[in-house]
């Protein structure tokens, strides 16, 4: 699906840009993206290094296991098929906690390490397990309790009450994450639907 979507963005973007006369902007968008990616890499290298360092301290102190044990029933329900002794349990917990607290920079390295652990017990190395899909669903539907970047942008825009969207965001994010989890559980149960979707993806250009 990513394959088709990626091609669609590029082909549609180039054709539309050429026909609508936005060529200058188009070329600018093409060249600046590589440059932007490189400066992002430098930032990510720094933050990932920092957070994996902190994570390792927490791991050595047994802190992650302790936190993971507290929420084990919930994690075990959401992430079926992950061995009890797998390090993935603790990493998934840390990933979700960091996401809830809005520490996105920390959540990503935790999540990537969790994926690595999940992949160890995966039989088909090219195909995502249900636990992997669930981790992605929870990450992509956001579980952030305080949308800080949005609030600071509202402050910058001169809002009279920048924080009044906290409640509406909480309600909405709860509903989206909840429906994502339910849908994920349904799709993982109905094998036929899952197979149909993964076969259809080769015919489907997405969106």
């Amino acid at each position: 699906m990513i394959n088709w979507l990626w091609a669609f963005l590029i082909i549609f973007g180039i054709l539309f840009g050429l026909f609508s006369g936005n060529v200058e902007q188009l070329v600018d968008g093409m060249t600046s993206s590589a440059k932007d990616a490189a400066s992002l890499l430098i930032i990510l290298m720094g933050t990932y290094t920092l957070w994996l360092g902190v994570l390792n301290i927490a791991k050595k102190a047994g802190l992650i296991e302790k936190i993971a044990n507290k929420v084990r029933p919930l994690i075990a329900f959401l992430f079926k098929g992950v061995p009890r002794e797998s390090e993935a349990n603790g990493l998934i917990t840390m990933n979700i906690v960091a996401n809830m607290l809005g520490m996105g920079n920390a959540a990503t390295p935790f999540g990537l390490m969790a994926m690595k652990e999940l992949q160890k017990t995966n039989r088909d190395k090219q195909k995502a397990t249900d636990a992997m899909c669930m981790l992605l669903i929870i990450n992509a539907t956001s579980v952030q309790l305080l949308p800080l970047t949005v609030i600071s942008l509202r402050v910058a825009a001169g809002s009279a009450s920048p924080t009044d969207i906290i409640t509406t965001s909480l309600i909405t994010t709860f509903i989206t994450t909840f429906s994502g989890i339910i849908l994920g559980k349904v799709f993982s149960k109905t094998k036929r639907v899952g197979r149909m979707l993964s076969e259809r993806k080769s015919h489907d250009a997405g969106l």
Binding site: L52, P162, I166, S169
Partner: protein, 173 residues
């Protein structure tokens, strides 16, 4: 007030981890270095996926094709009483965090930060994530090619989020 509190999360988190580790007689410096060694490699491993995503999104968002999609979606919006101004954000949100923040800033400017449109946009932004970026990073980093039901599920959840944000905001404000 809440904003002030959240500022304390990060320092208190680090402080807690270090003190707890010292009590458990862990060599915090050595442990930090040991873990930190993996950081640069991890960033490098996902770098091709970042470039690929930013390249495609850069082309799409600079071509002006976004407005076309906005027009196509118009009838649906009227039905759910979704403000039309949030649609560029809704389309861009799964692809790029920085691009959607740019759009959000544009919405604040065009409609005023305390308008209904801006509040729905803020709520959406605060309750969603960049799906395709996350998917390409997480699955790409371990070589997963078949993502199965992940993308459809999150896209459905995003649509639910758009409708929910509109309804909740119209009830609250």
């Amino acid at each position: 007030m809440m904003l002030g509190f959240s500022l304390y999360i990060l320092p208190l988190f680090i402080l807690g981890v270090i003190i707890y580790a010292l009590i458990k007689k862990v060599n915090v410096y050595e442990s930090f270095i040991e873990g930190a060694k993996k950081g640069a490699g991890l960033a490098l491993r996902i770098f091709p996926y970042i470039v690929a995503m930013m390249f495609a999104v850069g082309i799409f968002s600079s071509s002006g094709g976004l407005e076309l999609f906005q027009k196509l979606m118009d009838p649906v919006l009227v039905f759910f009483s979704i403000p039309a101004g949030v649609i560029p954000l809704f389309i861009m949100r799964p692809f790029s965090g920085s691009a959607s923040f740019g759009i959000l800033a544009g919405i604040f400017k065009a409609y005023g930060p305390d308008s209904y449109t801006s509040r729905v946009a803020s709520t959406m932004m605060g309750s969603s994530e960049t799906l395709f970026y996350t998917v390409s990073l997480y699955f790409g980093s371990v070589g997963i090619k078949k993502t199965r039901y992940t993308i459809p599920v999150v896209l459905i959840a995003d649509v639910i989020g758009l409708i929910t944000a509109s309804i909740v905001c119209s009830l609250f404000f």
